[in-house]
Amino acid sequence: MTDRTRLALMLAPALLVLGGLFLTGLGLTLLRSFRYFPALGLTKPDLAAYAAILTAPGFLRSLGLSLWIATASTLIAAALALAAALLLRQAFPGRAVISFLIHLNLTIPHIVGAIGILYLFSQSGAFARLAHAAGLIIGPQDFPALTHDPFAIGIILLYVWKELPFITLVLLANLQSLGEDHEATARTLGATRWQAFRHVLLPLLMPGLLSASALVFAFAFGAYEVPLVLGAHAPKALPVLAWQAYTNPDLATRPEAMAMAIVIAGIGLALLALYARAFRIDHAR
């Protein structure tokens, strides 16, 4: 057996599984978004489903909401994670506890965190009760709507809670492999602490920060169960709207659901390209 055949045999099962499931799933979604579905007598692909979602106000509002959720969550989580990584790089009493909490958070399913955020920030949640005890509000309705709200504040809070540890761990792994030499060198050459951070450390951390942020953005944009628990009735996050269109008893909305899934896939692919670039995939390993 030549090395080539051996390699091909080692890779074939994984590629078959992923090709058969992932690529087929994506391909079928694409075909049906063009309303190509021979079993239902649809044999002439067209763009009617895309035209339908683009002219309905619900889709654009949901797309905007999901982009807002993903952007705000990613920016806040990335900024806080950078600070947390710089903090955890130093030794201080209690660092082991925080390190444990960060790892613990990573194992917690999103839906559990979403329920925790709901019980904290809803209008009858823990903070509303504290506000009542402090005499700030009289009833639950006086407390600002932070969950099921049109600005998706509860959803963003969940992602900040859940993704801050994720980005922090990626950055800490990067810091560990860098060592402290570069910054120290910059300092001995006369750079201030800020300059050493801004012009030496930050550029070195940027690929890791960008790739982790791309993953977070994609997740916050496309996750279903988090807006399911914390989202408003209207506008709905795009994944919730797409699922609703797919499960609508009226089968005519199915191609529209497929078109929404393709929009989500398109944004995912753009992020994949960003991730691959930050990761420098062609030089990887």
């Binding site: 992923l18 499931l21 329920i115 005890a133 991730y275």
Partner: protein, 268 residues
């Protein structure tokens, strides 16, 4: 001195924020009638726990089912992902970039991008509403994770020791059993544990492919959220965290394996 204090303050704030959403879950699970505006429940009870652990709630069944699905998915992913990880970690070959992109795509693209098409495919194959269908669907996020982590594990493996074993008369099976496997085992174990968690956390794929007939723990959990049963919801949510805690405890000492599992294939 001021910097020191600022540092402690930031550390405290971070620790507090990380724990905060878990506190109401812990309290709700043992609360008896915790109405607005009470800061704490009027009485404490283990009723939610005994209900959650009773046969009628179906939580234990769901727990078992979710464990079965995650275990089967992980074993399948290991079977397929270890050789692929070896090929990627140890060799360069034409098209490697494409293979890496195919592995990264399911990890980055939201499940929603493929789940409708997958549902259509499984409908035709008669796999919707079945355990096998859900396990296969879970391979979409789990297999890339397993393969990428194993690629990182193999990139630190020196195949020269296999050649030595072979030249000393070991059969290929013996070489794998006594040379290769022990070397990759810590990494494989950690990758498997975290792969288990990836499957354990799936929501949408199970909902779509299982079609309500495969009731895993997160689906059951949401039905209690929707019903407004905060006490039972909290108890189930805490039960749902158990495997993660066990896995953290097991991997706590395996720094090398865990760092590979976390940094090479880490998912939000």
């Amino acid at each position: 001195m001021r910097a020191r204090r600022l540092q402690s303050l930031a550390a405290l704030a971070l620790a507090g924020w990380l724990v905060l959403p878990l506190l109401p879950l812990a309290i709700w699970s043992v609360a008896h009638g915790w109405r607005f505006p009470d800061l704490l429940p009027q009485a404490w009870t283990t009723k939610a726990w005994s209900y959650a652990l009773s046969d009628t709630a179906g939580v234990l069944n769901s727990f078992g089912l979710t464990t079965l699905i995650a275990t089967a998915t992980t074993l399948l992913a290991a079977l397929v992902g270890v050789p692929a990880g070896r090929a990627i970690g140890l060799h360069s070959f034409p098209g490697k970039r494409l293979v890496l992109i195919l592995l990264l795509a399911p990890a980055i693209l939201p499940g929603l991008a493929t789940v409708f098409g997958l549902h259509g495919l499984f409908l035709r194959l008669g796999l919707t509403g079945t355990l096998a269908g859900v396990i296969l669907a879970h391979l979409v996020p789990v297999l890339p994770y397993m393969t990428l982590v194993m690629a990182a594990v193999f990139s630190r493996f020196d195949p020269a020791i296999e050649h030595q074993a072979r030249s000393l008369g070991a059969t290929p099976v013996q070489t794998f059993r006594f040379v290769t496997l022990p070397a990759i085992l810590p990494g494989l174990l950690t990758a498997s544990l975290f792969a288990f968690l990836v499957s354990w956390s799936q929501y949408l794929l199970t909902l779509a492919i299982g079609g309500g007939r495969v009731q895993t723990l997160p689906l059951l959990l949401y039905s209690f959220v929707a019903a407004g049963r905060n006490d039972v919801t909290a108890a189930i949510a805490l039960l749902y965290l158990l495997p993660g805690l066990v896995i953290l405890a097991i991997t706590a000492r395996q720094i090398t394996g865990r760092s590979a599992a976390l940094t090479e294939g880490l998912r939000p």
